[in-house]
Structures are given as C-alpha cells and as structure tokens.
C-alpha cells in the first residue's frame, strides 16, 4: 500500500482542523509499521482514513491511498465497503464498546463471513469461527456467549479474530492494548505478531507508547500535531533518533536496567489544532528551536537510508 500526501480535515463550526497533513508513506507485505504519537496527533484519524471511515465532520481533502494498484479514495461506496473487513481490517481501541452487545460472538463471525462471502453456509462459517478463536487463544465454546460475558482481553482477541477472519493484506490496530492491563497487553501484542507471521499480512500498530513498537515493528512513524515528523526503520529510531520530539519520547521511556534514571518529560503540551503556531508545529516545545523554525514549516528531509525527518536541523548544508 502507498499513501501519498494524505490530508484529513475536520470541518467544525469553529473552523477547519487539519488533523492529518501531508502524509506519505508505504507499507510492504508482511511489514509492521508502528505509528506513534500523543493523543491529538492525528494517528487515529490516519488509521480511520485508510478505510474511509473518518467520522463526521471530518473529510479527506487531499491525497491518494493506493492499495494493490487500486486508488482507495476513488472507489465507489460498495467497492470500498467490500475492501473493509476483507483487505484492510481495523482493530479498535476499546474492546468493551466495539462489539454488538445483543449479538453472540459466533453471530459476529457468521455475519462477517457471510457478508463478504455469501456462498458460505452458516455451519461453514461457524467452523471457521471456531478455528479463528483457537488461533487467537479463546475456547471455541465462547462462540455462544454475549460480549459482556467476556473479559476485556478476551474481547480484544475476538476483535483480532474478526480482523484476520478473511485473511486481509493489512490489519490496522488502533491502540489495541490501551484499555487492557499490562500483562494482557504483552500477550495481545505477541499474538498480533504471531498472526502476522502466520497469515503473512501487514500490520499497522497505532499507539502512544513508543516502547511497544520499538521492538515489534519494522518501521516506525512518529506523528505530532498531524504531521509526520520522523519515519525510519525502528532500529534507526532507537539508535539514531533525529527529530527532537522522537528524542524526547525515547528519553521518557523508563529503562529497567538503568539504576538511576531521570525520566525526562517533554515540556509543554500539544498545540490546539485550531490555533497552530506558525512555522514548525513543534517549535514551542523544542529544546533547539531557532529563528527559522518559528517562521517556516519544515518539509520532510531525507536523513539517511529510508530515514526521513521533518526538521530544519537536517537541512542540506546545515551542521546538526
């Protein structure tokens, strides 16, 4: 999949909010991409825009999304709907509220499978559902339960099961573990990776927690206030972070091995998207902002093989 100059705006009564601006990246087969950012950075909007479900009053105003040679945004409504659940699947953040409370788990699967493959019989669908539940680590008897009878972790597994049911090429997981406790978090993330290996699909992990994606993803994209500020393979991000924001994020991850670590938070708070600062969106919180940053917004600059940073520090001919 390729995304090119994607821009998503929310047209509210108070003004236009640019939640996502000028995003370009690509996703290879069976690759895991980590998208990291604070709340309000636009990462969820980005995820939703990939399947065309940006909530009202948002709309995609610019850009292209190309999946398997098809331009997603130009598709007819029905074609787009067919893509969802089949080619691109979404796992939502809050498992408590993402399942239909009056439908049994099994019914969720049957409905999904039969919507996209109408020729499949109910029994067939149920058989497949049982296998999927096994794959995600839930006992097949649970098919007959209602969502509220399952714990949060189990519900999230169900959501993942629904996401991989039709063998999609891409799975987008939006903060799949934020609503869960720490132990379950690790299990779910491992599950996602295992499934990725087993099914050969690409995975986009959206999270605010950099530590989660450092180990588990191939490439990482760091977002801030709607902009992609750094995009590189995760090893690079870990060993050679270029953007001041990324550096700040790394510094704020507690490291169990360091005895006397001082946790450093990034001062300030994310900007109000209705009232963005002129120039680089990060400069009010940047420890090394200079005159240029206040005036102009930096473009994405190549700072290494497959390593892109949006910061004037790395402009051609500048000494970092």
């Amino acid at each position: 999949m390729t995304v090119d100059a994607l821009t998503v705006e929310y047209w509210t009564r108070k003004g236009k909010i640019r939640a996502v601006e000028d995003m370009s990246f690509s996703l290879e087969k069976a690759e895991t991409l980590g998208v990291v950012g604070e709340s309000g950075s636009g990462k969820s909007t980005l995820g939703l825009s990939l399947i065309g479900l940006v909530p009202f009053p948002g709309r995609i105003t610019k850009g292209k999304i190309i999946l398997k040679d098809k331009e997603v945004l130009k598709l007819r409504k029905d074609d787009l709907r067919n893509l969802r659940g089949k080619e691109i699947c979404y796992v939502f953040q809050d498992p408590m509220t993402s399942l239909n409370p009056v439908k049994k788990i099994g019914a969720h699967f049957v409905e999904l499978i039969r919507t996209h493959e109408p020729q499949v019989t109910k029994q067939e669908a149920l058989k497949r559902a049982k296998k999927l539940l096994k794959d995600v680590g839930i006992q097949p008897e649970r098919l007959n339960d209602y969502p509220h009878q399952l714990s949060g972790g189990m519900r999230q597994r169900v959501m993942i099961g629904l996401a991989i049911a039709l063998n999609p090429s891409i799975v987008v997981a939006d903060e799949p573990t934020t609503a869960l406790d720490v132990i379950v978090q690790a299990k779910i993330l491992d599950l996602l990776n295992a499934l990725r290996d087993a099914y050969g699909m690409a995975l986009i992990l959206i999270t605010h927690d950099l530590s989660i994606v450092l180990q588990r993803s191939d490439r990482i994209m760091v977002m801030y206030a709607g902009h992609m500020v750094e995009y590189a393979p995760s090893i690079e991000i870990y060993s050679n972070p270029k953007h001041p924001y990324t550096q700040g994020l790394l510094k704020s991850i507690p490291n169990i091995e360091l005895a006397d670590q001082k946790l450093e938070a990034i001062s300030g708070s994310p900007p109000d998207l209705l009232d963005l600062p002129k120039g680089c969106r990060f400069w009010p919180r940047c420890y090394c902002a200079f005159e240029r940053c206040r005036m102009e917004a930096p473009p994405l600059i190549t700072t290494g093989t497959e390593h892109f940073t949006r910061c004037f520090l790395y402009e051609e001919g500048r000494k970092a």
Partner: protein, 343 residues
C-alpha cells in the same frame, strides 16, 4: 433487582394506582356534582321521576354505601346502570370496546412504523435538508388537532376522490363473524382478525378500507414523538464504537442501520408506546367522533350528550383501568427484553 422481584413489585404498584383512580373518578363524577340525577334532568324539576331514578340507580343510599357498591361492583364487572334505560353499562361498554381496541392498535402500529422509519432516515441524513424536513413534519403533525386532520382526510379521500368511506366501521350486514366450525363459535370483536378467521378476504379488505382513514389520522398525529425519539436515539447509537466497528468490517449499510443501531435504540420506543397510550385513547375519542366509529370514545361522547352520568362514570373508569393495564404490560415487557436487567 431480579426480574421476578421487579414483576411482583410492579404489579403490586398498579393496585394502589387503580384504587386512586377509582376513588378519584368517584369523587369527581359522583361527589363533586352533588346530585347527578339533578344534572341529568338539567334542573327541570320533576321530583317523582328523579326519585324513581335515584332508587333505580342506588343513588339514594348514603355516600359511603354507594362507594362500597361502586368498588365491589367494579371487581364483579358491574359498572352501574345507564340513566337512559337502566340497562347495564358494562354490557354497552363491552360491546363498544373491541372497536376502540382495533382502532388503537392500528393507529399505534402506523404511528410507530412511520415514526421509526422517518426517525431512522432523519438520523442518517443528519443536519441535511431531509433531516430538517422530517423534523418539521414531526412537529407540525403534533400541532394539528386530530379531528381536523380527520375531517381533511375525509374531504380529500371520501368526498373528493370517493376512494374510501367517510365513516362507520363496516357496511351493515358485512360484519365478520369469526370462526365457525360446527358448534364452535369464536370471534374477537376485532374485524380484521375475525374476517380472516372466517376466511372471507372480501370482508377483510372492506374492514381495512374503513379502518384506514381513522387509524391513519390518529397515527399521523402521534408519529411525531416517535420520529423525535428514534432520531435522537439513533444519533447517539450511530456514534457508538461498535457501529463504527461494524462498518469497519464492511457490513452492509442496511445491516448496520437496522441490525445494529436500531436494535439497541428500540427499547425506548417500546417504553414510549406505553407512555403514548393514554394520548392515543384521548385522540381516539375525537377520532371516533369524527369518523362515527362505534367505539368506546364515541360511546362516551354519546353519553355526554345524553347527560348519562352513571354511564360516563363507568366509561371513564374503564379507560383508566385500560391505560393502567397497558402501561403495566409494557413495563413488564421492557424488563423482560432488556438483557441487562435480566442478567
């Protein structure tokens, strides 16, 4: 609380409410006017006739005795005697009741179907012109006096276009007789069902023709509330995560709207049906009068014109009990259906 506790307590609550109802009606219609017989004769003094009537109706006994007779009578199904011919009020009410029941059910069905459908459409087109039009429609229909709407429909479809009958419930001699097998005879009093039981399609269609305008009138006036309720519930539900999640799985829009959002928004509609029932009956009185529909409402207006106070008392009591029972039934149904209360 568990379902069983709820059912029991709800039923228990109905009993004092019915008692209050009975007592209030008694106070208003028997005690307040002082002497209903006098009112009946409209102050035209005729002592002999009045005394005779009082004796016949048991109105010469002391007040507390009358109250006692009244309450006991109701439990035995005796609602007093008509001032017109001393025939039992209960019987007259009983024969007029099915017509009102049929009208009420049909009107409620129309109101709910129309209201919910328009409400759903309205919520899907949030803030677009379609939404505004539907909302305005809902508000305006509520402001229309139901009998005025009835008369307009009569004018257009009855007098103007001659498509539908202007009044009455069925043409004479065409009354459906219900199920007749040998010695077994069963009828519900609801012509729609009875004509089907009888197997007579012609009578069925005829019944519907007569039923259409009155129930449409009443249904239109009531649908506004359902439009608004459904719309606001749908707007809330459509925002919920599991709806977006369903869309993300690529489910068809009709599935998402009806199977997901509406299912969860439906229970409040049910409650509202119960609450609106009282309004329905009030509207039925006017509708029946407009369309000469031989139901309890028209009976009431009839008796009013005749100044038949005992009959009026009985009718009002029946209306009240009817509303209490329906409201109880709806509450119980709601408790049964809401899976959250059950578990």
């Amino acid at each position: 609380m568990t379902l069983r506790t709820y059912i029991i307590s709800r039923i228990l609550l109905t009993i004092p409410m019915i008692f209050i109802l009975l007592t209030t009606v008694f106070l208003i219609l028997r005690v307040l006017p002082g002497d209903p017989v006098l009112l009946h004769f409209e102050k035209m003094e005729n002592p002999a006739a009045m005394a005779a009537m009082r004796a016949q109706l048991g109105l010469d006994k002391p007040l507390w005795a009358q109250y006692f007779d009244y309450v006991v009578g109701i439990f035995r199904g005796d609602l007093g005697k008509s001032m017109q011919d001393y025939s039992p009020v209960a019987q007259q009410i009983f024969s007029a009741f099915p017509a009102t029941l049929e009208l009420a059910i049909c009107s409620m069905i129309i109101a709910v179907l129309l209201g919910v459908f328009l409400g759903v459409e309205s919520s899907k087109a949030y803030n677009k012109p379609k939404d505004q039009v539907i909302r305005v429609f809902g508000i305006v229909t509520y402001a229309i006096p139901v009998f005025f709407l009835g008369m307009i429909l009569q004018l257009i479809f009855g007098v103007g276009l001659h498509w539908l009958p202007v009044g009455g419930r069925i043409s004479p001699t065409m009354e459906p007789t219900g199920l007749n097998i040998g010695n077994l005879h069963f009828s519900t009093g609801l012509f729609t069902i009875d004509s089907l039981l009888e197997g007579n399609i012609y009578k069925f269609v005829l019944t519907l023709k007569y039923l259409l305008l009155p129930s449409l009138t009443l249904g239109l006036v009531l649908c506004g509330i359902f439009i608004r309720l459904t719309r606001s519930n749908m707007l809330e539900t459509l925002r919920l995560d599991f709806v977006t999640a369903a869309k993300a799985r690529g489910l068809k829009e009709s599935t998402v709207t009806y199977s997901y959002a509406l299912r969860n928004a439906f229970l409040p509609v049910l409650t509202m049906m119960g609450l609106q029932f009282a309004m329905l009956l009030a509207g039925a009185v006017l509708t029946e009068t407009t369309f000469s529909w031989p139901g309890l409402g028209r009976y009431l207006v009839d008796r009013i014109n005749f100044r038949d106070y005992t009959a009026i008392q009985g009718t009002v009591v029946v209306f009240g009990i009817f509303v209490s029972i329906v409201s109880l039934a709806i509450d119980l149904l709601y408790a049964y259906l809401d899976p959250r209360i059950r578990l």
